[in-house]
Symmetry: C3
Subunit: 231 residues, 3 copies
């Protein structure tokens, strides 16, 4: 079912049972799988591949307990050129995915978040709203990137890393602030990052560490709580 | 495709390629996305929003290695009023979701589990069977709630928390028992909870802690294994 | 929509809006849910149950930052007899699932991986490529099995376990090697496994442990970093 005012570039192919809502713009040489839902006004560049059973351009919702209400006006979802998106993915309205990025199966990304060019979002990774992900970043399978977080260029985040942005855990009396991960830092698998900490440039955090305070640049930290190894 | 004996209340809208099996009852002002599957006899209240590609009312299945066989008779899935359900969600038959609850994208909830009113189940959170979740509970993104667990009212569970209910890990010689989390407790991100432990009322467990024994009420615990901080 | 050259055995039922691509072979007494996608040449045995919104036989893709390029020729996905597959699952081409296995909702398995007979892959578990999973293995909900990993028969992996195979985290100068878990070992929930470690036969790793070196057979290890308990 293709709604009115949809533009589809040449050599693009659309799978079975796809729903493309009004005002969607799709570039050239795009491949769209089966059972994909593309919500109104989404913009998709050239040479993009979209897997099956994926939902693009979802509008955020809320309930009465949630601290943060969805923004009433969000730009449409924008997907650059040469992007690959997996199966069963959910991308919100207000997300920008730059050229050459890769988003794995079962991943989801909330509104007001940008993914830089050539970056990789692993399968089943979950990215919150209001977050900036730089260029050539790898976020591996199953990792959780909280809201209000910054990940600079060339950062490597291993599988199953967890972050948080709410020091008082739901009390609502605190300005939420996610971690800030500086250029080229590497975070091992299943690391725990506390709210507001800064991981310095090219720092390494070992697998399973619980990072409770800032990590200086060019150092290695391990343990629970994480300590910086002597050099 | 809408099967026989389906009731749909006024002002409700159904997306494209939706499958609603026989005997389903849908209230008023309900919005159902595209490619949704609603299995037989599911009951949905008024003012409910259901995302795309979501499966409601699934019957449990098993294989011959599984310790626990599915219950042969389960009540239909019941969703209260004003509930919001995301995209690519899986809810089983035998689940009860109370009014005003919120269930994020890619979450799943097994049979014989109840979610209290106004509670939030985060994206990609996985909830097992035979579990009680109270009112105004927050279970954040990617957390895992094991079977036979009790979560009282006003509990806050951060992202990526893990729980277990099987002390002997598959030996099958043990009565499975998940953790019991008392009223108002707060659990930080990526915390590990062992089988059968009790987290006391308004206790706080710091991010990344591994909780191997009961946590007294009104205390704070951190570390691996978790220790209670002096006050 | 069923393409050309598809074989469907007797007493098999196909849900609504299912897409079965060319050359697929489906056995007898198979039940396929709604909105399922079965890619070309997939082979499904007898008495198999497949949930809703599931994608079978996906071809791997990549982007220019990824270290490993997909194999150009992969065998079709092969699913044995009596297998149960959940809703919103993604299985790649080049996967072999043996008889009596169980794959939970929202799980995904990459190419060149085999799942032994009667093994269980939990809900939302993510399994990478080039991995061998033995017989009667349990991998519980939300666990992450990295690439190039071996899991022998009768292993138990609790929920939310994380593994990795890349010692230098994306530097690309290292032969990737996942953990090797020997026969009958048990891994507790939220354990972190580092690249290349060996977990000995019937060893037990306690919940929340961070395993940084080999674990001897018939021992128990706990902590961060994990230490072997005295016997």
């Amino acid at each position: 079912m293709i709604y009115e005012n949809v533009e589809i570039g040449k050599n693009s192919s659309i799978g079975e049972h796809v729903v493309i809502e009004k005002g969607v713009i799709i570039g050239e040489n795009v491949t769209i799988g089966h059972h994909v839902v593309i919500k109104a006004e989404t913009v998709i560049g050239d040479n993009v591949t979209i897997g099956n059973l994926t939902s693009l351009g979802k509008t955020p919702s809320t309930n009465k307990k949630m601290a943060r209400k969805p923004v009433s006006t969000l730009e449409p979802l924008k997907i650059g050129h040469n992007v690959t998106i997996g199966d069963n993915v959910v991308l919100y309205r207000g997300v920008v995915v730059a050229d050459d990025a890769f988003i794995g199966d079962l991943a989801s990304i909330r509104e007001k978040t940008s993914v830089g060019s050539t970056s990789i979002i692993g399968r089943s990774a979950t990215i919150e709203n209001n977050t900036v992900i730089g260029k050539r970043v790898t976020i591996q399978t199953g990792s959780y990137v909280t809201a209000d977080m910054t990940i600079e260029d060339d950062v490597f985040i291993g599988p199953c890393v967890s972050s948080s942005n709410d020091k008082y855990m739901g009390e609502g009396n605190y300005c939420h602030q996610g971690p800030f991960i500086k250029k080229g830092a590497k975070i091992g698998n299943n690391v725990t990052l506390l709210p507001g900490i800064i991981i310095g440039e090219k720092a390494v955090v070992g697998a399973g560490a619980v990072v409770t305070k800032d990590v200086p640049p060019y150092t290695t930290s391990v343990g629970n709580p994480a300590n910086t190894l002597k050099r």
